[in-house]
């Protein structure tokens, strides 16, 4: 094994997906709180950014996160019909649908973005969602490699 190969193996071993998670305050952030209170264990790869509503999430936030090197982005909000602000989540969903097509055209696997609905009582769904995006992204490898 050459030194370069060795280095690569090591890098592979050490690489852990970096996930930016945007959560709405009312459902998913509270769901994540409940996951903690219920001591549900899930991978520590996601960093949650609290926004009032998923409707606040501009496509730019997600694109910029990927550009800055996030391996995946999780967006978690209230179920359709349950939005604290009545419909912000639907607007986010519409934006995300278009954006996923756009990033795919740009050569980024859309599986790096996950949209999920998790209410304040769905701690397990929230935790499972984090696990899913982490595993999805782990299978894809680091984003920076995808660029090259």
């Amino acid at each position: 094994m050459t030194t370069v190969e060795k280095k690569e193996v090591q890098a592979k071993k050490e690489w852990e997906p970096q996930i930016v998670a945007f959560c709405c305050n009312w459902c998913s952030y509270a769901g994540a709180d409940l996951a903690g209170t219920s001591r549900i264990q899930y991978p520590p790869n996601a960093r949650i950014i609290r926004v009032n509503c998923t409707g606040r999430i501009s496509p730019e936030f997600i694109l910029a996160s990927l550009e800055m090197g996030a391996d995946g982005v999780l967006v978690s909000g209230c179920h359709p019909g349950d939005c604290h602000y009545s419909s912000g989540n639907l607007k986010l969903r519409a934006r995300l649908t278009i954006m996923k097509m756009a990033i795919e055209q740009a050569g980024i696997n859309p599986d790096r973005i996950r949209l999920q609905w998790a209410s304040a009582s769905e701690a397990q769904i929230f935790a499972d969602g984090v696990t899913t995006i982490v595993e999805q992204v782990r299978a894809l490898g680091p984003l920076r490699r995808e660029w090259k």
């Binding site: 709180d33 264990q41 349950d82």
Partner: protein
């Protein structure tokens, strides 16, 4: 709305006893924070929310002339109001405070990975400090609170709340969708813990409500529109019979929409014989000297009850909770009926007569020779109907024997579940619901009667399955919350609203179409017309800010910069942040 002083940030990392410090290396987190830009003070402390912790924040603000504070502790949904108050007491605007969630989001959910948890904690603190650097102070705004409460639901909780508020000199609008007040309690014949029927208990309440000068009662009516904000809600109520609509201005709201008894189709042959009824149906039978079989009108000589029907079923959505009232209600009904009926049998999984005076009913039932038999949780009794006779068989856990019984009447003590229209009610008042389907309180321990919609309280069984006396306690509590707001006459509201930079607005109307509250309009007095936000109507979702193609909308306290700086702090190395290349 600008902070001209250079940021001077204080970081306070909380141990929360062993809750955080048991997993996260809090000392390392605090030490790391010292090196972050603009951080002039950093420490770790046992309990930041304690009096000592709060005083520490105030002292350090003064000592180091801090103008921003980051507390890394529990969820901001728990203690953000506490710490905002603390920094404000020390002269720092509440919007210059930021909280990191190291407990619910780190130590409690990554318990077995202390190193990764500490790394995550450091990242979250970095992100929060980066956000704190660009936070801006905002004015503290107050609005008036109209002195009228809307009480939704005229059951025992709604009635008690209406009376409490009316008696303190505030107006009440009581809306009930049925034609009569009194809810379920009015129909019940064996009410516990009092030895009175439900009707006897609730009649004086209804009488007082009807006679009260300050209480307006609308029966056969439903709230169909709900708009506005704390202290200043606009409500439209429709009469379901006449379809007449009326508008009201309201200051506070109490939602007391109660429950419905579960109709257990698919359980214990319910629906296959008229002699299998729910406890609620038994309670609602017209009072008479003798209990008669619904099928043929002959006297009931043998009766059986089964407990926990549709309650306490792990994994069954909406049926996992304990319905709390049934054990005592069953014991009371069984004890009452044993006076007239030869054989009374209660089959149970567990008996929990937990409340004041409830244990006495259990003992009374025992004393009157009601037979109790425990069945295993994983092998429920089998009920079949043969030749219109009800047959039961089950294994008695304590005797370890298979038993059978043929009751004249089988009563199923079924779960309390939310009314069919609860989703509609939740949407109307922007309430969230917990796993049992009932409304979520603002905080399960610390704020069980208020909700995340400011100015809207919940009371009684709309919050969780509970008995009548507990509902009344809730009602008085919720009434006190409403009266507290109205007596003060004004309340502080969040300044986190959106704002249009008119010089950037391209008059495209996108924001107007996305705003769920109609809070954005065009100012036609200027040419070209530009959008503007009516702040009182804005609830701060920020959907307009992300939709605006001209970046002309600022969402205060959640600006693009305040969000993106957190992403940067997480993903970019310090060198990159200074403009260098990724390493």
């Amino acid at each position: 709305m600008t902070q001209t002083d250079d940021p001077r940030i204080g970081v306070f990392v909380c141990h929360c006893g062993h809750n955080i410090a048991g997993v996260v290396d809090v000392e390392a987190v605090a030490k790391m924070a010292e090196s972050l830009p603009n951080v002039v003070f950093s420490c770790d402390e046992m309990f930041m929310c304690s009096d000592a912790g709060q005083q520490l924040i105030r002292d350090k603000i003064e000592e180091h002339n801090l103008n921003r504070v980051v507390v890394a502790s529990c969820s901001p949904r728990m203690h953000e109001p506490t710490f905002r108050r603390v920094v404000e007491e020390a002269g720092v605007n509440r919007y210059l405070f930021d909280q990191v969630n190291l407990r619910e989001h780190v130590s409690w959910c990554h318990t077995r990975q202390p190193e990764a948890a500490t790394e995550k904690a450091k990242d979250l603190v970095k992100m929060s400090v980066a956000r704190a650097r660009v936070l801006e102070d905002l004015p503290i705004k107050t609005v008036k609170v109209l002195a009228t409460t809307l009480v939704v639901g005229g059951g025992i909780a709604g009635l008690r709340a209406a009376l409490d508020i009316g008696d303190r000199g505030f107006d009440v609008l009581l809306v009930e969708k049925e034609s009569e007040l009194g809810g379920h309690v009015a129909k019940w014949t064996h009410l516990f813990p009092a030895d009175e029927s439900g009707a006897e208990v609730i009649k004086p309440l209804i009488k007082d409500v009807k006679a009260h000068k300050r209480i307006t009662t609308l029966t056969n009516s439903k709230v169909i529109e709900f708009d506005g904000y704390i202290g200043n809600f606009e409500v439209t109520v429709e009469n379901l019979k006449t379809e007449k609509k009326q508008k009201f201005d309201i200051g506070t709201v109490i939602v007391a929409t109660g429950f419905i008894p579960f109709r257990p189709y698919g359980y214990f042959a319910y629906g296959e014989s008229p002699d299998i009824v729910t406890l609620a149906e038994l309670q609602e039978l017209a009072p008479s000297d003798q209990l008669l079989k619904p099928s043929d009108g002959t006297p009931v000589k043998k009766i059986a009850f089964i407990g926990c029907v549709g309650s306490r079923e792990p994994g069954v959505k909406g049926h996992e909770h304990c319905s709390r009232h049934c054990c005592a209600a069953t014991a009371k009904a069984a004890a009452d009926l044993r006076e007239k009926i030869e054989e009374v049998l209660i089959l149970y999984q567990d008996i929990r007569t937990y409340g004041k005076g409830h244990e006495e009913f259990y003992r009374l039932a025992r004393r009157r020779h009601v037979i109790f038999s425990k069945f295993p949780r994983d092998a429920k009794p089998v009920v079949t109907v043969k030749n219109s006779e009800v047959h039961m068989s089950w294994r008695d856990v304590l005797a370890d024997r298979e038993l059978t019984f043929q009751p004249d009447l089988l009563v199923l003590a079924t779960a309390m579940i939310p009314p069919e229209d609860i989703a509609e009610t939740a949407k109307m008042f922007s309430l969230t619901r917990s796993g049992d389907g009932f409304f979520n309180p603002e905080h399960i321990k610390l704020a069980p009667l208020t909700t995340h919609t400011a100015g809207v309280m919940i009371a009684g069984a709309s919050q969780a399955a509970k008995n009548a006396s507990e509902s009344v306690i809730d009602a008085s509590g919720a009434a006190a919350k409403a009266v507290g707001l109205m007596a003060k006459g004004e309340v502080e509201i969040e300044s986190t609203v959106s704002h249009v930079l008119s010089e950037l607005c391209s008059s495209c109307h996108t924001c107007i179409t996305v705003c769920p509250y109609g809070a954005i309009n065009m100012d036609e007095t200027v040419d070209p017309p530009v959008a503007f936000v009516t702040e009182a109507k804005c609830r701060g979702c920020g959907t307009c800010a992300s939709a605006c193609p001209s970046s002309a909308i600022i969402m205060y306290h959640s600006t693009d910069n305040q969000i993106m700086t957190m992403v940067e702090a997480y993903l970019c190395s310090p060198a990159q942040l200074e403009g260098g290349e990724p390493q």
